[in-house]
Amino acid sequence: MLNLKKILKSREITSLAFVVLLFVGVGAINPNFLSSQNIMLSLNGSVVFTMLAVGIAFVIITAEIDVSVGATLGLSAAVSATLLRDGAPWGVAISAALAVGLVVGLINGFGVVVLKIPSIIMTLGVNGVVRGLCYVYTNGKWVENLPFAYKALSQAMVGGMTWFYLGALLLTVAIHLFLTRTRWGRYFAAVGDNAGGATLIGIPVGRTKMVGFVLCALMAAVAGLMYVSRIGFVTPTAGNGYEMKAIAACVLGGVSLAGGIGSVVGAALGAIIMASIGRILVFLQFSSDYDNTITGILLITIVVVDALMQRRAAEKARRERLTARIAEPAAAKGGEEQ
């Protein structure tokens, strides 16, 4: 347990250190950035991405991918917003959003697990379909005039932090504990690490992946609900491209797309980075138009450095193993090797 924790921790700590460094670095240039108010704004502003990234981490850890969360967020936001606008009780609106997530997740899981469609293809297709449904549902119009009370929800604070972010934080910690401490939770990493081996010791690989997709889509639906409250209206393109940002957040947080490595805490940290880039640019007096450029550079740099480091470590280990096999030189020969 110790060793694994060390590794997992080190990945998260790298991300955390990066977040801290980023904030301190920007703060050195513009001290206003380090004001507690701004830090809280950054955290609170990352709540939607945090939910998406944590959800998608479920899927990525099982060595699959889900690029449909952006559209899922959009549709669940549109459905719940429409219901809220039309005066439906909150419970109904929330349930409807979650139902959207559940259905999308089940469809994704069915396609990947039962029909054996590669997840990138399946979820890409579902993303298109769900986004289209979003247009159909909203008839291409904005959903506006939402009840004030629901919008105010996102502004409710507890000690500088929104209730939303506190909730997201607690949920992330709870999920982290589930994934690392419980029998079922460990299945996710096991499936992503070695699906064949998991099958042989009786871990239900298909079911685990299915659960991963469903949880991911449910989290996207929750993100949709938060989105509605925060933004206050829903366009048919709501959440467009968020899936890519959420995946980027996971990668920035040390979740490996190869599966089996990473944690939701890392994903949440990655989400903070993703959500803060625009704000950082403003504080550095750049145009926030450079947001995507920075994200791209950051993403590529981090994964490349990580891959090179991992490859070096693996190569070193391999060479050590091979060298260890060599016997001491025979008495006659001089030994310059060992």
């Binding site: 347990m1 110790l2 060793n3 694994l4 590794i7 029998r183 460990r186 299945y187 990493a189 096991a190 690490d193 070695n194 064949g196 081996g197 998991a198 099958t199 042989l200 010791i201 009786g202 871990i203 239900p204 089996g260 490595i261 280990a317 391999r318 060479r319 193993r321 091979l322 060298t323 096999r325 060599i326 016997a327 030189p329 025979a330 020969k333 090797e337």
Partner: protein, 506 residues
């Protein structure tokens, strides 16, 4: 409870009754009966395609038999899936351990249990103490040696209260010391009344570790009983098809080395996995390079072939220093290599026979456009010369038998007209007929004056083919043999680091 936990010796722990299994029209198992009692080690021997792995998969619940039953401790077991087999106390230690590389040893062992962690840890440490094994529970499984990984697999099985362990060729990737350690473990487990099925290709191991032995051939068990009832020769007979005549060994006249320059010369060649290697291979000569798996032979070959970096020393081809060149340049200079792992490094499975054969020769097939006519001609030649059984040039290589796949790989290697061919385990896992064909190809190369470096763990093969032989042990050449001294005993002894007097020097 005592009645159920200590079964009378008459009652087998695992009993397989009349198992039949076919895949499409191909009957793989034709009525298998097999009993394993508690504390028995049943060695299961059989060539490739004999049906061993199919049988094991049926026992594990991965396949369903067409007919027949699996009985565990006298009870008929319905094994729909692997978890059901696990619940019944059957555990398979696969040839390539299937651990979770990013988890620790402890996590690997404990995953999938419903009991509380503390209780499991207590049981695990008790188990380790009882067996007196040294395991670092906090290392990541990805960094373990194959032997250590097998240990973890066995622990996994035992912690699940496995009563039947299936070990699938456990020693195939182990060093000599590791094999010894494994055998001690198996002996320990026998004491604990665990039943084991021990699948192997190595007859010596049968006498060393097994209590009983079964031989499978073509989907039937041809011979079965306590080890004491058999001799090595009887086992060999059981493995051979009933009407096989022992093939006449081809008589070779040792080549004339007088005034010849070596084609390949290694001088103090050192890399990862081997050290201070010096030898020569002459044109028209087959140099056998024997040794156990892990002795550094493949690493030596692949490093010469430009796949890994050289630490020190030189390699000369035909007098020219070719140390540290890229694979492409090495091929251009006139060396080519038939890889040890055919599936990993040899064949292009979902490609046609012709594109497999031409792959290393693409540079010469036309300027920019691929010369299909020339490719067809090339492929036709190798299909005919090597008697490769294909339905057409565009048959997919993955649909060929192992032997024919190997011939395709050899064809690709020879396409480049190498001056030196390195063959790494060229007949592993292929049938007898194909083996004969491969031997014929090697002899023909020798006649044509090509230098051949033959790497093999099959001592018989080295004896039959080599003009000279060297053995590698723990990364170094420890002995070399002239033609008259190449015997299986000498090679085997040297491979395991035992130098016999009188066998020294060529």
């Amino acid at each position: 409870m005592t009645e159920s936990s200590t079964l009378p010796m008459q009652e087998p722990m695992l009993s397989v009754r009349g198992i039949y299994k076919s895949f499409s029209l191909n009957a793989v198992l034709k009525g298998i009966d097999l009993d394993v009692h508690p504390g028995e080690v049943m060695a299961l021997i059989g060539g490739n395609g004999a049906g061993k792995s199919t049988l094991m998969k049926i026992i594990m619940g991965i396949y369903q038999p067409d007919r027949g039953d699996v009985l565990i401790a006298g009870e008929k077991a319905v094994l729909g899936k692997p978890s059901a087999a696990l619940a019944k106390g059957i555990y398979l230690v696969p040839q390539e351990p299937m651990l979770f590389p990013n988890m620790t040893v402890e996590e690997n062992v404990l995953i999938g249990f419903s009991e509380p962690k503390a209780e499991l840890r207590r049981r695990l440490s008790g188990l380790i103490k009882q067996l007196n094994w040294k395991v670092d529970l906090h290392r990541k499984a990805g960094g373990l040696s194959i032997a250590e990984q097998q240990l973890v697999e066995i622990l996994r099985g035992l912690l699940r209260n496995a009563r039947i362990l299936i070990l699938d060729e456990p020693t195939s990737a182990l060093t000599f010391d590791e094999v010894e350690a494994l055998f001690r473990i198996i002996a320990d487990l026998r004491e604990k009344n665990i039943s084991m099925i021990y699948i192997t290709h190595r007859l010596t191991e049968v006498f060393e570790i097994a209590t009983h032995v079964s031989i499978m051939r073509d989907g039937v068990i041809t011979l079965c009983g306590p080890v004491g009832d058999f001799t090595r020769e009887m086992l060999v007979q059981g493995l051979l098809p009933p009407d096989t005549e022992q093939g006449e060994a081809l008589v070779c006249i040792p080549p004339d080395y007088q005034g010849r320059e070596p084609m390949l010369r290694l001088e103090g060649y050192t890399g990862y996995g081997f050290c201070d290697i010096s030898f020569e291979v002459y044109p028209g000569e087959i140099l056998g390079l024997a040794g156990v798996v892990g002795a550094g032979r493949t690493e030596l070959a692949t490093t010469i072939f430009g796949r890994d970096s050289v630490k020190s020393g030189k390699v000369f081809l035909d007098g020219e220093d070719i140390t540290g060149l890229s694979t492409k340049k090495i091929i251009d200079k006139g060396i080519n290599y038939v890889p040890e792992d055919r599936h990993l490094n040899g064949i292009f499975g979902i490609s046609s026979v012709s594109s497999n054969i031409s792959a290393a020769h693409l540079g010469q097939l036309g300027r920019f456009l691929l010369d299909h006519r020339q490719e067809t001609e090339l492929t036709r030649r190798y299909i005919e010369d090597f008697r490769i059984k294909v339905t057409g040039q565009d048959q997919l290589v993955s649909s060929l038998s192992g032997g024919n796949q190997q011939k395709v790989v050899i064809g690709r290697v020879l396409c480049t007209q190498p001056k030196l061919v390195i063959l790494d385990e060229p007949t592993r896992g292929i049938d007898a007929a194909a083996r004969g064909d491969v031997y014929a190809i090697i002899h023909k190369l020798r006649e044509q004056g090509v230098a051949v470096l033959l790497i093999s763990s099959d001592m018989e093969e080295i004896v039959e083919l080599s003009d000279r032989a060297v053995t590698m042990y723990q990364g170094r050449i420890n002995q070399s043999f002239a033609k008259c001294n190449i015997t299986q005993d000498n090679l085997m002894a040297a491979s395991f680091g035992v130098c016999k007097e009188g066998a020294r020097n060529a």
